[in-house]
């Protein structure tokens, strides 16, 4: 039976004010103004899994669990966008995709938060991620044993190789026919994208210095897929994709999850995980439509990413767990890691116009696989395409320009070219998330994030800047300068391991302390590697979904 058409106009159409996923339907992300049917559960119905967060971890796991037949409710604090009608080609407007709630950032090298490394939307930060989809180097899963630094993961790279494949298929990754580094991998599902000038510059620099490069495996379509068109190279990728070429969680795993019977609740902020007399989790307290509610569940999955996940576990402290949930090791909120994101910039005689096409179409992982270095860990570097606001702010913050020098430099916007790393920082206990005294709009203590680099981090950065500068000199770039202080992706804060004394969850993302509490996002990373983490987060979520199914069959849940 069809609903009266007037319903649509009667509701507020601002998805930041009024939830869209309700009344048995969710937004159809592929059609303006349209809906898809969605199963719904009552708060007092005990569902198999309630999942906190719908990004790369939670959204992917919601899909896997629903497809395995479990009842699933997934909550997200952010709105439920329809990209085709809600997204502008505009940097300012699209800051609406970021998590901008109050946070304190401190330490010797305080992090910039709230933009590229955050997301508040159904689909999480994948709604605006740069789509770079890379596999870990196999040795990184045993970096302590094999490479002498960091911590071993409790996962086997050969098993992960299969899950990487599953994610690459699910997102129709566009990539090269043969990948130059690591063990053989199957061909990418979709063909690689053509190189823009910024990517050609990277390739020329690598060839001049005698190292390999390749087209970046990237989660934007190079051929049609269902109702989504191929990428049109508009270049606003990190401000959200308004054509649905970007294979975010919002347009991939979430529609699958809903089709398989999962319920998504937007604008639903979880404030506390509840535990019962037996010490097990019983559900979550969440704020939606102006009031606090409680969803009962047999299992709770926390998937809020490396700041909100520890924050929620710490904010859920109760008399039985005074130090917060899942925290008998004392490691919740510790060993937070970012990735180094330094760059070298220069100017070409030719027009580059790096605002066209996805920003990072070419990559070299050479220094991830070459161990002849005087520091631990590795880095990749990629071509860049900053939009005007970001570029002007980079000139201000990192190059110290304002006044006439800034205006003069901005005249060369169409000629600038840059190389930027994603570099491995080492896990340190002192880096992490604690609770501050200030409260947010829900009355919850806000997080305090502390970050300081170690000597190895500085050595890695120095090596990368020297090398990238050589690469730009080799292609006759002029007015070369270094952006020395920038970081990107967050990981860690609730790491996985083999030993309950030194980790928060086991290999299945299951809390050692509370066996029906799971953590499934980037916070489980023991080390961070030298590649963008989203593919690995999704691969772990796929594995966790399969493991839960196996455990359920064996009666081990």
């Amino acid at each position: 039976m069809s609903r009266p058409r007037t319903r649509r106009t009667a509701m507020s159409d601002d998805p930041r004010q009024t939830p869209r996923a309700r009344d048995g339907r969710a937004p159809d992300v592929f059609r303006p103004g349209a809906w898809v049917p969605m199963r719904q559960y009552r708060d007092e119905e005990t569902v198999d899994f309630v999942i906190v967060g719908t990004g790369a971890g939670g959204g992917t796991l919601a899909c896997k669990l629903a497809e395995h037949g479990f009842s699933v409710v997934a909550l997200d604090a952010g709105p439920y966008w329809r990209p085709l009608e809600d997204f502008a080609s505009d940097e300012s407007e699209q800051t609406k995709l970021y998590w901008t709630d109050d946070r304190i950032s401190t330490g010797e090298n305080p992090l910039q938060l709230g933009s590229n490394n955050s997301g508040k939307a159904v689909g999480g930060s994948t709604v605006h991620f740069a789509m770079v989809s890379l596999r870990f180097r196999p040795e990184w899963f045993k970096s302590r044993t094999l490479l002498g630094y960091g911590f071993d993961w409790p996962l086997d790279w050969r098993e992960m190789w299969e899950y990487y494949r599953e994610v690459e298929e699910a997102l129709k990754i566009a990539g090269p026919i043969t990948y130059p580094w690591g063990p053989p991998r199957p061909r990418y599902p979709y063909r690689a994208h053509p190189l823009n000038a910024a990517a050609q510059a990277l390739a020329q620099g690598c060839e001049a210095l005698g190292i390999a490069w390749t087209e970046t495996p990237i989660a934007t379509l190079s051929a049609p897929r269902g109702l989504a068109h191929p990428c049109v190279y508009r270049g606003f990728c990190v401000a959200g994709c308004s054509t649905n070429a970007k294979q975010s969680v919002l347009v991939t795993w979430i529609p699958r999850a809903i089709a398989a019977g999962a319920e998504i609740r937007d604008l639903a902020m979880v404030g506390r995980v509840e535990t019962g007399p037996d010490g097990l989790a019983t559900g979550v307290h969440y704020h939606r439509e102006g009031r606090w509610r409680f969803q009962k569940a047999r299992n709770v999955v926390v998937a809020g990413y490396a700041i909100e996940t520890p924050r929620l576990l710490l904010n859920s402290a109760n008399p039985r767990y005074p130090e917060g949930l899942a925290n008998s090791s004392g490691l919740v909120g510790k060993y937070l890691m970012v990735q180094a994101n330094q760059a070298v910039w220069g100017r070409m005689a030719a027009e580059v116009r790096s605002y066209k096409a996805p920003p990072s179409l070419a990559i070299t992982e050479h220094w991830n696989y070459d161990d002849n270095k005087d520091f631990f860990g590795g880095y990749c570097y990629m071509s860049q395409g900053p939009l005007p606001q970001l570029w002007a702010n980079t000139q201000l913050q990192a190059h110290g320009l304002w006044g006439e020098p800034l205006m003069a430099e901005m005249q060369h916007y169409n000629h600038q070219v840059g190389l930027k790393i994603v570099g491995e920082m080492l896990p340190q206990e002192r880096n992490g998330v604690t609770l501050a005294e200030d409260k947010d709009q829900y009355g919850l203590p806000i997080p305090r994030v502390s970050y300081s680099w170690c000597d190895n981090d500085r050595a890695l950065i120095a090596h990368s800047l020297d090398f990238m500068e050589k690469a730009l000199r080799a292609i006759d770039a002029r007015d070369i300068w270094r952006q020395e202080d920038d970081t990107c992706h967050l990981n860690g804060g609730a790491r996985m391991g083999d030993d309950p004394r030194s980790s928060v969850v086991d290999a299945d993302c299951r809390s050692w302390d509370i066996r029906n509490l799971w953590i499934c996002d980037g916070s489980v990373f023991p080390t961070v590697g030298g590649v963008n983490p989203s593919l690995t987060i999704q691969a772990i979520a796929c594995r966790t979904g399969d493991r839960i199914k196996q455990m359920a069959v064996r009666g081990e849940l």
């Binding site: 009608e85 809600d86 997204f87 502008a88 080609s89 505009d90 940097e91 300012s92 407007e93 800051t95 998590w99 901008t100 709630d101 109050d102 946070r103 304190i104 401190t106 305080p110 910039q112 938060l113 709230g114 933009s115 955050s118 053509p194 190189l195 823009n196 000038a197 050609q200 990428c231 049109v232 190279y233 508009r234 270049g235 606003f236 054509t243 070409m348 030719a350 027009e351 116009r353 605002y355 066209k356 096409a357 939009l387 005007p388 606001q389 002007a392 201000l396 913050q397 110290g400 304002w402 006044g403 006439e404 800034l406 205006m407 003069a408 901005m410 005249q411 916007y413 169409n414 994030v449």
Partner: protein, 215 residues
């Protein structure tokens, strides 16, 4: 000095009704162009001070209507749009702006006996440079580091406001909004007909001709 007119005749707004601008983009940019010119959060004096600071940080040619930087910042404060993080010693955005502007005036009065607004350009620049280096430490800062206010709040907000405006996009030859049409030609020195043409070999007229047909 900037090279005025590197993209003669290029106006990104001419693409407003082409397939490069979707409906949402038109709506958002229309609202920005119509930003209220009277402050709603800042006082008239604060508003004038922000304009004076912006004149030093992002100086504008007198040959065109100015980008309303102070109005865009007032709008941001009015809407309560925040960055999502702050240093331990930093207040939230409105308070940071209000305290920082008052402290800047206090420093100006102490050195020159008058408010920042009434200083010469060179005096203003000297004070801003001291702020940037964290050398302003008067009581009016209330413990907020002046370099943090400069980098994380004041200069950042001003630069973001300036480059949020289509006039700034035209000035640097940026293609501007690009959905759903996007781009076709991606290589070195490859220009789609709906992109800015820059002056080559001093031939202003040739660039002007091309830019007249952008759309």
């Amino acid at each position: 000095m900037p090279e005025p007119g590197r993209f003669p005749g290029y106006d990104v707004l001419r693409k407003r009704h082409t397939p490069s601008w979707n409906e949402k983009t038109r709506q958002v940019i229309n609202e920005r162009l119509a930003v209220p010119r009277d402050p709603r959060i800042l006082t008239a004096h604060e508003f004038a001070t922000v304009t004076a600071i912006a004149d030093r940080l992002v100086p504008q040619p007198r040959s065109r209507p100015p980008i309303p930087v102070a109005a865009l910042i007032d709008e941001k404060l009015f809407k309560g749009q925040e960055d999502g993080f702050r240093g331990e010693d930093m207040p939230r955005e409105r308070e940071a702006w209000q305290r920082g502007l008052a402290a800047l005036d206090a420093e100006a009065r102490e050195r020159h006996g008058t408010e920042f607004l009434h200083l010469t350009g060179n005096q203003q620049d000297a004070l801003l440079k001291q702020m940037e280096k964290g050398e302003l430490t008067g009581a009016a800062w209330g413990g907020m580091p002046s370099e943090a206010f400069f980098k994380q709040r004041m200069a950042k907000d001003i630069v973001f406001a300036y480059y949020a405006h289509p006039t700034a996009w035209s000035e640097i030859g940026f293609g501007g909004p690009a959905s759903p049409r996007g781009y076709v030609r991606l290589g070195y020195d490859e220009r789609d007909p709906w992109e800015a043409a820059e002056v080559k070999d001093g031939d202003v007229e040739a660039a002007h001709q091309k830019n007249r047909h952008v759309g």
